[in-house]
Chain length 151, copies 2
Protein backbone atom coordinates (compact mmCIF):
# COMPACT_ATOMS: atom_id res chain seq x y z
CA UNK A 1 0.00 0.00 0.00
CA UNK A 2 1.13 3.51 -0.77
CA UNK A 3 2.47 5.39 2.23
CA UNK A 4 -0.25 7.97 2.86
CA UNK A 5 1.93 10.57 4.62
CA UNK A 6 4.98 12.03 2.86
CA UNK A 7 7.93 13.88 4.30
CA UNK A 8 7.79 17.67 3.96
CA UNK A 9 9.04 19.26 0.74
CA UNK A 10 9.27 22.91 -0.29
CA UNK A 11 5.74 22.98 -1.69
CA UNK A 12 4.33 21.57 1.55
CA UNK A 13 6.29 24.05 3.65
CA UNK A 14 5.07 26.96 1.51
CA UNK A 15 1.44 25.85 1.79
CA UNK A 16 1.77 25.37 5.56
CA UNK A 17 3.21 28.86 6.00
CA UNK A 18 0.38 30.29 3.92
CA UNK A 19 -2.21 28.61 6.17
CA UNK A 20 -0.39 29.98 9.23
CA UNK A 21 -1.29 33.49 8.03
CA UNK A 22 -4.97 32.86 8.79
CA UNK A 23 -6.55 34.92 11.57
CA UNK A 24 -8.66 32.16 13.10
CA UNK A 25 -8.34 28.46 13.77
CA UNK A 26 -10.02 25.52 15.47
CA UNK A 27 -8.59 24.39 18.79
CA UNK A 28 -8.87 20.92 20.33
CA UNK A 29 -8.28 20.78 24.07
CA UNK A 30 -8.86 18.42 26.95
CA UNK A 31 -10.79 18.99 30.17
CA UNK A 32 -12.71 16.95 32.74
CA UNK A 33 -15.48 16.28 30.19
CA UNK A 34 -13.03 14.86 27.63
CA UNK A 35 -11.92 16.42 24.35
CA UNK A 36 -13.39 19.86 23.63
CA UNK A 37 -13.28 22.10 20.58
CA UNK A 38 -13.48 25.87 20.01
CA UNK A 39 -12.91 28.48 17.37
CA UNK A 40 -10.04 30.75 18.32
CA UNK A 41 -8.37 33.91 17.11
CA UNK A 42 -5.02 32.99 15.57
CA UNK A 43 -1.77 34.77 14.83
CA UNK A 44 1.99 34.42 15.04
CA UNK A 45 4.20 36.05 17.63
CA UNK A 46 7.19 38.10 16.50
CA UNK A 47 9.29 34.91 16.29
CA UNK A 48 6.71 33.11 14.14
CA UNK A 49 5.25 30.94 16.90
CA UNK A 50 1.47 30.30 16.72
CA UNK A 51 -0.47 32.24 19.32
CA UNK A 52 -4.02 33.02 20.34
CA UNK A 53 -5.76 35.68 22.41
CA UNK A 54 -8.37 34.15 24.72
CA UNK A 55 -10.91 35.27 27.25
CA UNK A 56 -10.15 33.69 30.60
CA UNK A 57 -13.89 32.95 30.83
CA UNK A 58 -13.77 30.63 27.81
CA UNK A 59 -13.88 26.91 28.50
CA UNK A 60 -10.78 26.37 26.38
CA UNK A 61 -8.76 28.96 28.34
CA UNK A 62 -9.60 27.23 31.61
CA UNK A 63 -8.71 23.88 30.03
CA UNK A 64 -5.36 25.03 28.62
CA UNK A 65 -4.27 26.33 32.01
CA UNK A 66 -4.84 22.88 33.50
CA UNK A 67 -3.71 20.76 30.54
CA UNK A 68 -1.25 22.31 28.08
CA UNK A 69 -1.26 19.72 25.25
CA UNK A 70 -3.67 20.77 22.51
CA UNK A 71 -4.15 20.74 18.74
CA UNK A 72 -4.87 23.47 16.20
CA UNK A 73 -6.38 23.24 12.71
CA UNK A 74 -6.01 25.98 10.12
CA UNK A 75 -7.73 26.20 6.74
CA UNK A 76 -11.31 26.89 5.79
CA UNK A 77 -13.23 24.81 3.32
CA UNK A 78 -13.90 26.99 0.29
CA UNK A 79 -17.39 27.57 -0.98
CA UNK A 80 -17.07 25.05 -3.80
CA UNK A 81 -16.21 21.40 -4.08
CA UNK A 82 -15.71 18.74 -1.44
CA UNK A 83 -14.62 20.37 1.86
CA UNK A 84 -12.35 17.38 2.47
CA UNK A 85 -10.24 18.31 -0.55
CA UNK A 86 -9.42 21.81 0.74
CA UNK A 87 -6.01 22.09 2.41
CA UNK A 88 -5.70 22.28 6.17
CA UNK A 89 -2.81 22.24 8.58
CA UNK A 90 -3.09 20.37 11.87
CA UNK A 91 -0.67 21.13 14.67
CA UNK A 92 -0.06 19.21 17.86
CA UNK A 93 0.98 21.91 20.29
CA UNK A 94 1.64 22.84 23.88
CA UNK A 95 -0.05 25.92 25.35
CA UNK A 96 2.01 28.52 27.21
CA UNK A 97 0.35 31.55 28.76
CA UNK A 98 2.31 34.68 27.91
CA UNK A 99 2.74 38.00 29.68
CA UNK A 100 0.27 40.28 27.94
CA UNK A 101 2.21 43.52 27.52
CA UNK A 102 4.95 41.71 25.62
CA UNK A 103 2.57 40.81 22.78
CA UNK A 104 -0.17 43.45 22.81
CA UNK A 105 1.17 45.85 20.19
CA UNK A 106 2.39 43.09 17.87
CA UNK A 107 -1.02 41.37 18.00
CA UNK A 108 -2.94 44.54 17.26
CA UNK A 109 -0.97 45.04 14.03
CA UNK A 110 -2.42 41.79 12.67
CA UNK A 111 -5.75 41.93 14.53
CA UNK A 112 -6.79 45.59 14.73
CA UNK A 113 -10.37 44.77 15.74
CA UNK A 114 -9.08 43.08 18.89
CA UNK A 115 -8.58 46.62 20.24
CA UNK A 116 -12.22 46.35 21.36
CA UNK A 117 -11.43 43.75 24.02
CA UNK A 118 -7.67 43.15 24.24
CA UNK A 119 -7.40 45.26 27.40
CA UNK A 120 -10.15 43.46 29.29
CA UNK A 121 -8.39 42.02 32.32
CA UNK A 122 -9.53 38.46 31.68
CA UNK A 123 -8.00 38.33 28.17
CA UNK A 124 -4.66 36.57 27.84
CA UNK A 125 -2.21 35.49 25.16
CA UNK A 126 -1.41 31.83 24.82
CA UNK A 127 1.43 30.56 22.66
CA UNK A 128 0.56 27.30 20.93
CA UNK A 129 4.05 25.90 20.51
CA UNK A 130 4.05 23.25 17.75
CA UNK A 131 5.29 19.77 18.55
CA UNK A 132 4.48 18.27 15.16
CA UNK A 133 2.33 19.09 12.16
CA UNK A 134 0.36 17.32 9.47
CA UNK A 135 -0.62 19.09 6.27
CA UNK A 136 -3.55 17.59 4.41
CA UNK A 137 -3.97 18.72 0.83
CA UNK A 138 -6.93 16.50 -0.02
CA UNK A 139 -7.54 12.77 -0.32
CA UNK A 140 -4.29 10.86 -0.29
CA UNK A 141 -2.14 14.00 -0.12
CA UNK A 142 -0.60 14.49 3.29
CA UNK A 143 2.77 15.64 4.56
CA UNK A 144 4.36 15.42 7.98
CA UNK A 145 6.12 18.62 9.06
CA UNK A 146 8.47 19.42 11.91
CA UNK A 147 8.19 22.64 13.92
CA UNK A 148 11.13 24.10 11.97
CA UNK A 149 9.26 23.59 8.70
CA UNK A 150 6.69 26.12 9.89
CA UNK A 151 9.08 29.03 10.35
CA UNK B 1 -21.18 39.65 36.14
CA UNK B 2 -23.63 38.63 33.43
CA UNK B 3 -24.01 34.88 33.04
CA UNK B 4 -22.29 34.25 29.71
CA UNK B 5 -24.17 31.06 28.78
CA UNK B 6 -27.97 31.07 28.46
CA UNK B 7 -30.41 28.18 28.48
CA UNK B 8 -31.64 27.07 25.05
CA UNK B 9 -34.61 28.86 23.51
CA UNK B 10 -36.42 28.29 20.21
CA UNK B 11 -34.11 30.59 18.28
CA UNK B 12 -31.03 28.77 19.59
CA UNK B 13 -32.53 25.38 18.76
CA UNK B 14 -33.37 26.51 15.22
CA UNK B 15 -29.86 27.86 14.63
CA UNK B 16 -28.30 24.67 16.02
CA UNK B 17 -30.43 22.49 13.71
CA UNK B 18 -29.43 24.65 10.76
CA UNK B 19 -25.73 24.16 11.57
CA UNK B 20 -26.33 20.41 11.85
CA UNK B 21 -27.21 20.39 8.14
CA UNK B 22 -23.61 21.14 7.21
CA UNK B 23 -21.70 18.44 5.35
CA UNK B 24 -18.38 18.83 7.13
CA UNK B 25 -17.17 19.55 10.65
CA UNK B 26 -14.07 19.73 12.81
CA UNK B 27 -13.44 16.83 15.17
CA UNK B 28 -11.43 16.89 18.39
CA UNK B 29 -10.21 13.51 19.59
CA UNK B 30 -7.70 12.08 22.02
CA UNK B 31 -4.84 9.69 21.36
CA UNK B 32 -1.45 8.84 22.84
CA UNK B 33 -0.05 12.18 21.64
CA UNK B 34 -2.78 14.18 23.40
CA UNK B 35 -5.67 16.08 21.82
CA UNK B 36 -5.85 15.87 18.03
CA UNK B 37 -8.00 17.62 15.46
CA UNK B 38 -9.27 16.74 11.97
CA UNK B 39 -11.74 17.86 9.37
CA UNK B 40 -14.46 15.25 8.88
CA UNK B 41 -17.39 14.58 6.61
CA UNK B 42 -20.59 15.21 8.57
CA UNK B 43 -24.20 14.15 8.30
CA UNK B 44 -27.15 12.91 10.32
CA UNK B 45 -28.36 9.34 10.45
CA UNK B 46 -32.04 8.59 9.74
CA UNK B 47 -32.87 9.34 13.40
CA UNK B 48 -31.09 12.69 13.36
CA UNK B 49 -27.95 11.59 15.19
CA UNK B 50 -24.66 13.19 14.05
CA UNK B 51 -22.49 10.80 12.07
CA UNK B 52 -19.32 10.74 10.03
CA UNK B 53 -17.78 8.48 7.41
CA UNK B 54 -14.09 7.90 8.08
CA UNK B 55 -11.19 6.07 6.54
CA UNK B 56 -9.84 3.53 8.98
CA UNK B 57 -6.37 4.79 8.00
CA UNK B 58 -7.07 8.26 9.42
CA UNK B 59 -5.50 9.09 12.77
CA UNK B 60 -8.88 10.17 14.14
CA UNK B 61 -10.51 6.85 13.21
CA UNK B 62 -7.81 4.93 15.05
CA UNK B 63 -8.19 7.29 18.02
CA UNK B 64 -12.00 7.02 18.21
CA UNK B 65 -11.81 3.22 18.29
CA UNK B 66 -9.59 3.43 21.36
CA UNK B 67 -11.17 6.46 23.07
CA UNK B 68 -14.81 7.21 22.27
CA UNK B 69 -15.25 10.67 23.89
CA UNK B 70 -14.77 13.42 21.31
CA UNK B 71 -16.03 16.85 20.30
CA UNK B 72 -17.43 18.25 17.05
CA UNK B 73 -17.63 21.83 15.81
CA UNK B 74 -19.96 22.93 13.02
CA UNK B 75 -20.11 26.31 11.34
CA UNK B 76 -17.73 28.02 8.92
CA UNK B 77 -16.56 31.57 9.34
CA UNK B 78 -18.01 33.57 6.47
CA UNK B 79 -15.81 35.55 4.14
CA UNK B 80 -16.56 38.86 5.84
CA UNK B 81 -16.28 40.23 9.34
CA UNK B 82 -14.68 38.80 12.47
CA UNK B 83 -14.65 34.96 12.26
CA UNK B 84 -15.33 34.85 16.00
CA UNK B 85 -18.73 36.46 15.47
CA UNK B 86 -19.95 33.74 13.08
CA UNK B 87 -22.15 31.12 14.72
CA UNK B 88 -20.80 27.68 15.53
CA UNK B 89 -22.14 24.67 17.37
CA UNK B 90 -19.85 22.62 19.59
CA UNK B 91 -20.88 19.13 20.63
CA UNK B 92 -19.36 16.91 23.25
CA UNK B 93 -20.01 13.44 21.90
CA UNK B 94 -19.27 9.75 22.18
CA UNK B 95 -18.18 7.85 19.07
CA UNK B 96 -19.91 4.58 18.13
CA UNK B 97 -18.77 2.60 15.10
CA UNK B 98 -21.79 1.53 13.07
CA UNK B 99 -22.41 -1.42 10.76
CA UNK B 100 -21.83 0.00 7.29
CA UNK B 101 -24.67 -1.49 5.25
CA UNK B 102 -27.24 0.01 7.62
CA UNK B 103 -26.22 3.57 6.71
CA UNK B 104 -24.74 3.39 3.22
CA UNK B 105 -27.79 4.34 1.14
CA UNK B 106 -28.97 7.02 3.58
CA UNK B 107 -25.52 8.63 3.61
CA UNK B 108 -25.24 8.68 -0.18
CA UNK B 109 -28.48 10.68 -0.44
CA UNK B 110 -26.84 13.54 1.43
CA UNK B 111 -23.26 12.94 0.25
CA UNK B 112 -23.47 11.69 -3.36
CA UNK B 113 -19.74 12.28 -3.99
CA UNK B 114 -18.91 9.77 -1.25
CA UNK B 115 -19.83 7.10 -3.81
CA UNK B 116 -16.20 7.39 -4.96
CA UNK B 117 -14.86 5.80 -1.76
CA UNK B 118 -17.72 4.65 0.46
CA UNK B 119 -17.22 1.02 -0.57
CA UNK B 120 -13.49 0.95 0.20
CA UNK B 121 -13.16 -1.70 2.87
CA UNK B 122 -11.40 0.56 5.34
CA UNK B 123 -14.18 3.18 5.36
CA UNK B 124 -16.58 3.07 8.30
CA UNK B 125 -19.48 5.04 9.74
CA UNK B 126 -19.14 6.48 13.21
CA UNK B 127 -22.08 7.94 15.11
CA UNK B 128 -21.09 10.96 17.17
CA UNK B 129 -23.75 10.76 19.84
CA UNK B 130 -24.14 14.15 21.54
CA UNK B 131 -23.72 14.39 25.29
CA UNK B 132 -24.08 18.17 25.49
CA UNK B 133 -23.87 21.15 23.17
CA UNK B 134 -22.84 24.78 23.24
CA UNK B 135 -24.01 27.19 20.58
CA UNK B 136 -21.91 30.30 20.17
CA UNK B 137 -23.50 33.12 18.21
CA UNK B 138 -20.69 35.64 18.64
CA UNK B 139 -19.13 37.50 21.56
CA UNK B 140 -21.26 37.21 24.66
CA UNK B 141 -23.96 35.15 22.92
CA UNK B 142 -23.89 31.52 23.95
CA UNK B 143 -26.51 28.92 24.72
CA UNK B 144 -26.24 25.53 26.36
CA UNK B 145 -28.27 22.82 24.59
CA UNK B 146 -29.22 19.29 25.55
CA UNK B 147 -29.12 16.39 23.06
CA UNK B 148 -32.92 16.60 22.67
CA UNK B 149 -32.62 20.24 21.58
CA UNK B 150 -30.74 19.06 18.50
CA UNK B 151 -33.47 16.78 17.11
Amino acid sequence: MKQPVAEADDAARALARQLLQLKHASLAYLDDEGPGISRIAFGLDAAGCPMTLVSGLAAHAVALRAHAPCAVMLGDPGGKGDPLTHPRLMLRAVAEFVEKDSQRDHWLKGHPKAALYIDFTDFAFVRLRPVSALLNGGFGKAWRLAPDDLL
